[in-house]
Amino acid sequence: MKDFIIPVRERDMGTPARTGAPVTLKIDGVQVTVPEGTSVMRAAAEAGIAVPKLCATDSVEAFGSCRLCVVEIAGRRGTPASCTTPVAEGMEVRTGSDRVRRVRRGVMELYISDHPLDCLTCAANGDCELQDMAGMVGLRDVRYTAPEGAGLANHFTARDTSGAANLQWLPKDDSNPYFTYDPSKCIVCSRCVRACEEVQGTFALTIEGRGFDSRVSAGAAGDDFLTSDCVSCGACVQACPTATLQEKSVIEMGTPDRAVVTTCAYCGVGCSFKAEMNGDQLVRMVPYKHGKANRGHSCVKGRFAYGYAQHPDRVLSPMIRERIDEPWREVDWDTALSFAARRLRDIQARHGRKSVGVITSSRCTNEETYLVQKLARAVFGNNNTDTCARVCHSPTGYGLGQTYGTSAGTQDFDSVEETDVAIVIGANPTDGHPVFASRLKKRLRAGAKLIVIDPRRIDLVKSPHVAAAHHLPLRPGTNVAVLSAMAHVIVTEGLVDDAFIRDRCDAEAYAHYAEFISDARHSPEAVEMLTGVPAASLRDAARLYATGGNGAIYYGLGVTEHSQGSTTVMAIANLAMLTGNIGRPGVGVNPLRGQNNVQGACDMGSFPHELPGYRHVKGAEVRAIYERIWGVEIDPEPGLRIPNMLDAAVDGTFKGLYCQGEDILQSDPDTKHVAAGLAAMECVIVHDLFLNETANYAHVFLPGSTFLEKDGTFTNAERRINRVRQGIPPRTGYADWEVTQLLAGAMGADWGYTHPAQIMEEIALTTPSFAGVDYALLEEKGSVQWPVNAAAPEGTPLMHVDGFVRGRGRFMVTEYVATDERTGPRYPLLLTTGRILSQYNVGAQTRRTDNVVWHAEDVLEIHPHDAEVRGVSEGDWVKLASRSGETALRAKLTDRVSPGVVYTTFHHPDTQANVITTDHSDWATNCPEYKVTAVQVSLSNGPTEWQEDYAAQAARARRILPAAE
């Protein structure tokens, strides 16, 4: 199979693309037609003519500061900058006249007079635009040199020729773990500052001073890059034309010589990256300009946090042990796989076919996930397969399925560019989905309005040049009440899109719904005491969403991880139908998926009741498709979901688990119950990069491969199927899909796949929504959004355009039901959990990178009032207790959380926040209620006894016997 290998450096068109009426002009005698508003520089690039440039790059708007791109235009005076001059009909441009060449050489001579000439040993050697441009303009001579023994101002020598200290010289700032800022190499082109503003939207950088004193500066005086607001997204590094902002990996390893386009393995945004390599070493990850999810942008995780692949904790050899209190023994693959196969078959012989199961990984590829569920269904002979979507977006599947007929998110990410009002509910995109957040913030800076519904004041509520029109700080657990109140306002104030409902929705269901929601008990005033949201601002927010133009709802796990998660998703779907915000760009219902392939894992039949493509196992005709191809009979009964597996394990009817790329002991709620379930099993197989927490209870460890080491596909939150391409060979010898196939083989199956492309062929053959997907199409298009079939051969960016998948949209009655998890005298506070930008999920990957400089431990956010009555000060150790368990961590006092609400992250096993969370779950899907736990907070001296016991058990469980000679 041909790999998609591209030159390391992509073509830079100089200024961003425009859309508009065609304009035709001549550049150096070449006729070219471009959209109105395009710069002369970009038009020239379209015609294949490169105009020299330094301050222009096509990721940011033109700035016109370097004057290197000057051209001559017939009939106009002087030499205008081509980057800031828009094209005009009939324009005649000369880019290489003697006059402009003279100007450029003069400009370049000045630049170089203030730049060190250490090119041969410079980290950007071979990848430096200043070097390239000096060559391109033919600079041969620099006349400005310092006289001996006298001062001459420059920025690049620590002392002048008289030996005196040069006050203009600044030392390198290497505070950021991933890149350096070397002021001596800076040409003050402002590309970094503009990238930080326009692309990332953080505004951490500025140009300080004027004229010769102008310097790039991060944060306020006294700040360095690390202490500034910089979020280390890498946009500035990418924009920098010199070695001023340079990846430390390039400084250490040299410039890469080849690149493979692949897909990030962190969050559900699914950014495309160029994995740039030197031999078999990954030098850096650079966001791919043509990636349709990220459009050339990245965050600190995807851009820099890949070092875990080489971390010494990584296990490269299979390991087994008889009992979990024994140390691990390293063995060869055959031994490990036959040990695992024998144990599983033995369990099935003694406890029945349904006594074993699998957990597929939302971090692995579609092809790998497909094989793991196939292992359960075709080899184990049961439907005991589930995936971490159980604990994140399973309510999305149920709620959107009931209302619209498919669990699919309705839009692509480009859609946000046409949104006028965005509702963000139960999501924290600047931390959880940073690249999408940057795209949203860009739209907000252009005038779109924002409504945030969240118990916590997330960054989007107020950050530089972005402010939410409304923040509704609801009490955790009252989502349904708030959304129903919004619908009440829309219906009772006559803001409904009647035509949309008449044409597109089920009339009877709407009549029921309208009657239900119009009842005064749903009014904002009636629910104010319950939700804590002021009625007036709720009314204003509802009116804004209904009347403000294109309305889009983006939501995350703050919606789904509740006992009414599925009902909340239905309430969201109702709102979009009420206002006609479905079926065109700029609108829609957009679930922000947590993990890179959580969408794909669901699509691939990971759920115990569904075969790939969301088809219930009870359907004989669907089972027949797989029975024909797999040659086995498929169980028509649903299998166990993850929480059910653990319950059944405690009950003694579930004894064996193959868990690929998941760490349920850390990520799933009620840690003690998870541990009890795992401890009760006779064969736990963990297939992972590291000895994760779950592996403390495992009997077989199969070492995994990173996304850099294998081929396959990930499907992101937009339903976009993106290729994952192998850059380096698997360090363990096998990609994960091969390991699953070997395990199936050890249990008697004969699958015979030799490349993931063949697995995708089988998926396409059996799953209608993937019917048109194959690797050749992905090579051609880069990516496609499912459904891809005869009706939509190039995929489906927007869902429900002419009608809902289920026919007519169905309004669902959404009665608010309080969760059983209530505060009381013993547990008076509500804990809600979330994540932070620099860490990812259980942290297995990010904790093994330098990202720990930003977040070395989980902390408890608590309101100063709640802290004061408990005698808690900033940084104190506090004990956090619920009816499930207790842990200790440090307190952070902040008014981001309301009084009565505390917040923490779950990235660190030392804290193990999930020992606190309970076994309550969504009524329809068993998605755990992570977001509401009644707790008490009190001062403590350090880790709890439970934490110490846990750490000791983990250390014992991770012992590895020295390899036999």
Binding site: H609, V650, A924
Partner: protein
């Protein structure tokens, strides 16, 4: 699974369908249990109903009867 947990999960399902207009709620609860609960979970429910069904929403008990009728019919 602890009986309390099973009762809570079943009752949650019943509460949702009891709020839905114009449906046979017991049928819908039964269908939901058939679609999403593994047979051993349904067996546990049957056993709990046989033992008096303590704590169960009457709708769950009605749904349990439908489930058994459907299973016999198959």
């Amino acid at each position: 699974m602890s009986p309390d947990k099973m009762v809570r999960m079943a009752n949650q399902i019943a509460v949702f369908f009891s709020t839905q207009p114009d449906v046979d709620a017991a049928d819908r609860v039964a269908a939901h249990l058939a679609d999403y609960w593994d047979p051993r979970m349904r067996a546990q429910l049957h056993a709990h109903v046989d033992a008096g069904g303590e704590g169960l929403d009457p709708l769950v008990i009605a749904a349990d009867a439908r489930l058994r009728a459907d299973q016999t019919a198959d």
